[in-house]
Amino acid sequence: MSTLVPFEFDEPRVMQTGRGRRSSPMTWRWRDRFALVLAWSAGIVLVLVAGAIVAYFAFRGVQYLRPSLIFSRPQISASQAGSGGFLDPLLGTMVLTAVGIVLALPLAVASAVWMSEYGRPRWLARVIESCIEIVAGTPDIVIALFGLAVFQLSFMGPFSFKASGGGIYGRSFLAAGAMMSLIALPPIFAATRDGLQAVPGHMREAAFALGKTRITTIRRVLLPSVRSNMATGVTLGISRIIGDTAIVVLLLGESLRLESQGAVPGLGLLRGTGSTLTSYVFGNSPAGEGAAPQKAYAAAFVLLVFVLGLNLLVERIGRHQERATGLSVATGAV
């Protein structure tokens, strides 16, 4: 699946026809010239489309985003002026990201370590690798429905919001975060595994020669050396979690404010419902009930700034790693 595939270029491959005469496109047959024009325009149009999207949201963001929107809580109100800002969705995004990453990181790193350092029996390793590819390829909406089915089981009751009648609602930050961890898992797994496979064998051999056991080698030598790969994976995972809407819409309950369940402060929040930036945008677009395009634009701009920031972070981690070790970090493109 796409997330498991690194996207990197080893060497510059600019078209060269040697030192001598360069073949001029003017002498080519017309269909080759046509293909040349098509290739250039495809590349440039995509760059322009991306530029246009960012520029449009930047324009709308400057137009509609006010500090008061970020720092005020949303309210149910008939008029747009009274419906407040998106503080709660912003906090919701952060809480959900934290829950998702906290659940996904140990799972992904443990299975990546097992896969690359032990990986026996061989068939089991292959089965688990395919399972992770299946998870990576499963649409988020299907994962959301799976989560709903799991968290509506009666013994899962303590983890989610209670409906007014005492029935199990199956929607909470924990439920949504658990499913988000499935979305964040494949990039973290892929980045860690690729990092471990890129660690030269002599580092392991040196550690074994010093009398370290395998697990000590993993903890003291290998994991520290793939830290930046893990960071890349986590960043990609975060950008997936904050961009996901389907799971939030189905599993977070779509309450405008953070609604706690029970009196325990932290746990109550996690068992409660809420919304995130994505569901706020969805709800306020003409497709949802809110129909407040200005607020949707402002929230979408904030979302896009997050995504841009995370993208830059991935690039920077990659470049840093390349400078430090000469190894390039494999970054999943998507």
């Binding site: 649409p139 909406i141 690039e315 493109a333 998507v334």
Partner: protein
């Protein structure tokens, strides 16, 4: 307890622990299929293969389901989902076809043609395009593209000609396909670029030495050698197109109408539709009604199986690459 954990573990125990955690993932995947299948079972058992046939519009059936009680009679499960399947296949196939052309040429541009500086710009920009959240694409579609198509492209006479069957607001196949193409092209580009870059450049240089012009050499040698990987990229990207829910729910017009060519190509492009994934989003409120819930889980099961089949296909298509020793 903590002190015991902090002590170095014996190797065997560590291996077992890590292996157990990895097996948990396999259990999760199996659990996902089983859970979804259990919930999907009632609607399949009541409808049989007719589930995939055409008949009563799905919306009408869904509304009836929502009105039924907690213990619905077997007749409440009645659903004929062909319009939804048709919408899913149509959007997926058309957008994958468009994205295939765009991404093939864009990949050639990135890997072989672009000057170094331009390439350094292009790669992160396309990566950005892949990471823009689908709700942002949807917002762009519903607030910019849909009104544009509805107000400027669709003429009044076109609206009037089909007024008694569908309403042309601009939301429909055209906008859906355009946005979906932009969304899946970066995935295809990433995979295609990797495949093109892994073809040894000496092959292409050999072709140039034999007298082909550089572009012909790229098309005839590099692209041809990487062909299985390029097709596999398209297959994997179509899995993404299949599962796109939020964006399609926002811009597709939300009507299980089967776009057809009866009224000409333009009306076909403007007509609204509904896909599997967007159905789940649109009817999520009624999921507690057993019959409707079961239908939605059935849709999810089909999407799960579809994605599974697609990823197996992608794997099989890439097998011939092994003989070239080209990774893809």
């Amino acid at each position: 307890m903590l002190a015991r954990l902090r002590k170095p573990w014996p190797d065997v125990r560590a291996e077992r622990m890590l292996g157990a955690v990895s097996c948990l993932l396999a259990v999760l995947v199996v659990g996902m299929v089983v859970f979804v299948a259990i919930h999907a079972w009632p609607t399949f058992s009541h409808n049989g293969l007719g589930w995939l046939g055409s008949g009563e519009t799905p919306e009408t059936s869904f509304e009836k389901m929502q009105a039924t009680s907690v213990n619905p009679p077997p007749s409440a499960y009645h659903l004929r989902a062909w319009p939804l399947l048709y919408g899913t296949l149509l959007t997926t196939v058309v957008s994958v076809a468009c994205a295939f052309v765009v991404s093939l040429f864009a990949s050639i541009f990135i890997v072989e043609l672009a000057p170094e500086r331009l390439r350094r710009l292009t790669i992160p920009v396309i990566r950005l395009l892949a990471s823009v959240p689908s709700v942002v694409y949807g917002l762009l579609g519903v607030l910019v593209l849909v009104p544009f198509v509805g107000n400027h492209l669709v003429t009044a006479s076109e609206k009037a000609s089909v007024a008694n069957t569908i309403e042309l607001t601009g939301a429909g196949l055209l906008v859906t396909v355009v946005i979906l193409t932009v969304m899946i092209a970066p995935i295809m580009i990433a995979l295609t670029c990797e495949a093109l870059a892994s073809v040894p450049s000496s092959w292409r240089e050999g072709a140039i030495a034999l007298g082909l012009n550089p572009l012909r050499a790229i098309l005839a040698v590099t692209v041809r050698a990487a062909r299985p990987a390029i097709v596999a990229a398209a297959v994997l990207a179509s899995a993404r197109a299949l599962g796109e829910a939020i964006m399609i729910s926002m811009v597709s017009g939300g009507r299980a109408f089967k776009p057809n060519l009866d009224h000409g190509l333009l009306i076909f492009l403007y007509s609204p539709l509904r896909t599997f994934a967007s159905t789940i989003v649109d009817f999520r409120e009624g999921i507690s009604a057993p019959a409707l819930g079961s239908s939605l889980y059935a849709i999810a099961l089909l999407m799960l199986l579809g994605g599974f089949v697609l990823s197996v296909c992608g794997y099989l298509i890439k097998l011939p690459l092994r003989k070239y020793q080209v990774r893809g």
